[in-house]
């Protein structure tokens, strides 16, 4: 039998030396991230300033939030390609609610999140009830959301200039004295929430069960359809939040933005050790994956490496990070 890794299976396996090893592995997962950061810190002294570090976190926030939600989907062995444009549609809906309908701020934000949830719900129903493969269902949704965002916004950006406090959602600092934008706090808070859901609730447990062996899960009496819909809806909520955070950062809802974000988010998830085959994955891994991508991108930009080389280097770093992770798991 092959030695298979268990670090990414749900929760740790309790006490004993196994536990310690697993914890150590989690920490080692940070290794590539730390190596990268160290490299850039040496290459450019401006990298390690507080302002730049919080900038990296800020630039990771949107992709990170998307990636957190889609981790659940990928653990069920699904995929979610409507992340980017779905997020845009959520941002546009928030814009319409706050500016055209004049709803109060909390309701507008809620509306954006619900828009995301609705998109996820529709995805979930197509996939679980109509049995359309997740790739196709969410690819179709990616196009539909893109179109709807343009239609609803009248193909023009919606500005939040007249909505006081809206940009604060992303850019103010809740923690007094520390220059850490709220978007980053939101990312961290959502990481905790997602980790709790994945590790400690039925939804998390069943996500692993469905991704591990959908037929067996169904034979065990789990209502696979219902839980799948729940997972896509949850991912949709994260998508909606990402949309609001993005709009707050740009102080506008840009209807033509979004395509390409889905691949970045999925990449973060997979770099973080979640398997596209389903059944394996972790939230902390996803956060690390997102930070790795964010750090490399920022580091190269801060060094003003010519852009054509930047993508080559990012490609190589992704390869290396994943390969090192594979070696590490083999011990």
């Amino acid at each position: 039998m092959k030695q298979t890794d268990t670090a990414a299976s749900p929760r740790v396996l309790g006490p004993s030396w196994n536990f310690a090893r697993r914890q150590l592995q989690q920490v080692l997962a940070f290794a590539s991230l730390i190596v990268l950061a160290a490299f850039f810190a040496i290459a450019n002294p401006n990298f390690l300033t507080w302002s730049n570090l919080s900038g990296i976190l800020l630039s990771t926030a949107v992709i990170g939030i998307l990636a957190l939600g889609t981790t659940f989907v990928i653990i069920t062995s699904g995929i979610e390609l409507s992340l980017g444009t779905g997020m845009t549609l959520a941002a546009v809906m928030t814009g319409v609610m706050l500016t055209s309908w004049g709803l109060p701020l909390p309701l507008g934000v809620l509306g954006g999140v619900l828009t995301g949830a609705l998109i996820g719900l529709v995805n979930g129903v197509s996939i679980a009830v109509l049995k359309i493969p997740p790739f196709i269902a969410t690819l179709a949704m990616m196009l539909i959301a893109q179109g709807l965002a343009l239609v609803i916004s009248g193909t023009a950006p919606i500005y939040f200039t007249d909505v006081p406090g809206f940009t604060d959602i992303s850019l103010a600092s809740l923690v007094p004295g520390v220059r850490l934008p709220n978007a980053v706090l939101i990312l961290f808070a959502l990481t905790a929430v997602a980790a709790l859901i994945l590790g400690k609730t039925l939804l998390g447990r069943y996500s692993f069960a469905i991704g591990s062996n959908e037929d067996a899960a169904s034979l065990s009496g789990i209502a696979v359809r219902r839980w799948k819909i729940a997972v896509y809806t949850l991912s949709g909520c994260f998508m909606g939040i990402a949309g609001v955070v993005l709009a707050a950062r740009l102080n506008s809802a840009q209807p033509s933005l979004g395509i390409g974000y889905e691949l970045q988010a999925i990449a973060a998830v997979v770099i973080g050790g979640t398997s596209l085959q389903g059944g394996k994955g972790s939230i902390v891994g996803t956060l690390i994956g997102a930070l790795i991508v964010g750090t490399v991108t920022n580091g190269l930009r801060i060094m003003s490496i010519p852009q054509e080389w930047q993508s080559v280097v990012i490609g190589l770093v992704i390869l290396a990070a994943v390969y090192i992770d594979i070696l590490r798991r083999k011990q």
Partner: protein, 513 residues
């Protein structure tokens, strides 16, 4: 909790199936079948591969819906629409094919859908304690927190059993629970079954190991070609008669005299000092031309591991493998195949079947290159003839070569994989549990096949947990215990006692109680 009359004496008849029919495209799996199950009885259901046993059970488990007939549970006619409904009716099933989730832990698998909770959260501590309690009650020695995907096949089987028992069901269905177990685990299982029976549980027991029936069954129902044949009292039944009912003719009981190794024949495969950290230590043996070398041992003794190393699926830390006296490097199963060494895995679903493909493809999977011209173009007509030949000679029950292998019965799937290795011309064949889930008649055919392969000069390693089979077939028997070869016995000198003696020689045995 169960749909049974409350109070008073429990209804004697737990389950009554009348006139059950079920068809699949191209196959009538069941027609007009009857079955009754009383409280406190073990009711064996037997029949050839493809007779419809599993299908009947799947109707009870809510996986398939019947075409005709009625199902009564506790005197009331019911529809069992899904697995959950079956659970709610107090019916619990051990499936023939594993239905576990490899990425979850043992405890999570057992209590899936019934997780203890604290507020909105799962209570894993209690979950693990429940599993530990269950294991203590059942006498199982497994860590509830271990990941199921890391378990041996036999251990997975034990988890399946534990899961089914954890429901405290009134009706317990066991579809070939012992196919992956050796004697001692089987004995343990029987003890559990008797306890349950004594508490009034009704057990439906399906097995191809007819010897077990005497030991455990109260009544036996025989199915043939999807039809009901007879129900007998186990106590008075003659097994030869049961077999005759199953196959519709008398089977000559042939065993022949014990075999013996022939030291004059050249050594084909030699394994020297094989070691693998924590699994194997200093494993050495020789395999001669035209010989069947049996491998016996308890579950987890390391037989499968030896086979996997020899066929290149795993790497050894130490040791050499010699083929006809020359050391060979076998890094992948493809290397082994090139050296004409073939391995049939004990886990047919994970390491054998190409479930999406049809029967023909599955038979040819190892010998595709032999059925292609040098440019890589397939010779389809020739390939079809080969596949047809094996469907015929192994009597694989399939509507056509194009039938998805998924829809075959378990035993017929096993035959398909056997055919795969027979179709490839190998000098050394390693069969890991080759008759797992195969009916008596077909077993005889497979034994004959192995004999004729050996007579052709092929060398065969036969790993089997069915000791009588090893004793009957092997020229010599290597016995393993805890990763070592504790003895190599000649076929003539070996008997059940000596083999078990060597199999436990290293002291306490592994894995399962």
């Amino acid at each position: 909790m169960y749909d049974l009359p409350a109070g008073g004496p429990v209804h004697d008849l737990l389950l009554r199936l009348e006139g059950i029919s079920k068809g699949f495209p191209g196959v009538q799996a069941l027609s007009d079948v009857h079955l009754e199950l009383r409280a406190g009885e073990v009711h064996a259901v037997v029949g050839e591969n493809g007779a419809g046993k599993s299908t009947l059970m799947k109707l009870l488990a809510g996986i398939h819906q019947r075409d005709a007939g009625s199902i009564e549970v506790g005197g009331r006619e019911v529809e069992i629409e899904n697995p959950r409904a079956a659970q709610e009716l107090g019916i619990s099933i051990i499936h023939q094919e594993f239905s576990l989730m490899p990425d979850l832990t043992i405890a999570e698998n057992i209590y899936i859908g019934r997780e203890p909770r604290r507020g909105p959260f799962t209570d894993d501590r209690r979950l693990n304690r429940m599993a530990a309690d269950l294991f203590a009650r059942l006498g199982i020695d497994l860590d509830p927190r271990a990941r199921v995907g890391d378990l041996l096949v036999a251990q997975q089987q034990v988890v399946e059993i534990a899961k089914a028992l954890s429901f405290d069901a009134r009706v317990l269905i066991m579809d070939e629970p012992t196919a992956a177990l050796t004697e001692s685990e089987t004995a343990n299982l029987f003890r559990l079954i008797r306890d349950l029976r004594d508490q009034g549980t009704g057990v439906i027991y399906i097995s191809h190991r007819l010897g077990e029936l005497k030991e455990i069954a109260d009544r036996i129902t025989v199915l043939r070609d999807g039809e009901y044949v007879a129900t007998l009292d186990a106590a008075g039944a003659d097994l030869r008669h049961v077999v005759a009912l199953m196959v519709g003719r008398e089977l000559a009981a042939n065993g022949g005299p014990p075999r013996t190794g022939d030291p004059s024949r050249p050594v084909v495969l030699e394994v020297r000092g094989l070691g693998s950290k924590g699994l194997l230590e200093d494993v050495s043996f020789e395999l001669r031309e035209g010989e069947i070398l049996g491998f016996a041992g308890l579950v987890g003794a390391g037989r499968t591991e030896v086979a996997r190393i020899v066929c290149g699926a795993d790497r050894a830390d130490r040791g050499t493998i010699l083929l006809r006296g020359r050391p060979v490097k076998i890094r992948t199963p493809a290397d082994a195949a090139r050296l004409r060494i073939g391995y049939l895995s004990e886990d047919r679903k994970r390491f054998g079947l190409l479930l999406d493909q049809d029967v023909g493809f599955n038979i040819l999977a190892s010998s595709l290159a032999e059925h292609a011209n040098p440019l890589g173009l397939m010779k389809d007509a020739q390939a079809r003839r080969t596949a047809e030949r094996y469907v015929e000679s192994l009597r694989i029950r399939t509507p056509s070569l194009r039938t998805p292998v998924r829809s075959l019965s378990g035993g017929n799937q096993q035959k398909v994989i056997l055919a795969r290795w027979l179709a490839k011309d190998c000098d050394v064949l390693i069969f890991d549990e080759p008759t797992r889930g195969i009916d008596v008649g077909a077993k005889e055919e497979i034994y004959e096949l192995l004999d004729s392969l050996a007579a052709e000069g092929k060398s065969i390693i036969m790993i089997s947990s069915e000791l009588p089979e090893v004793l009957r077939m092997a020229h010599r028997i290597a016995v393993m215990c805890e990763g070592r070869v504790t003895g190599v016995l000649d076929g003539a000198e070996a008997d059940q006692r000596t083999v078990m003696d060597y199999a436990t020689r290293a002291g306490a045995h592994g894995g399962i109680a």
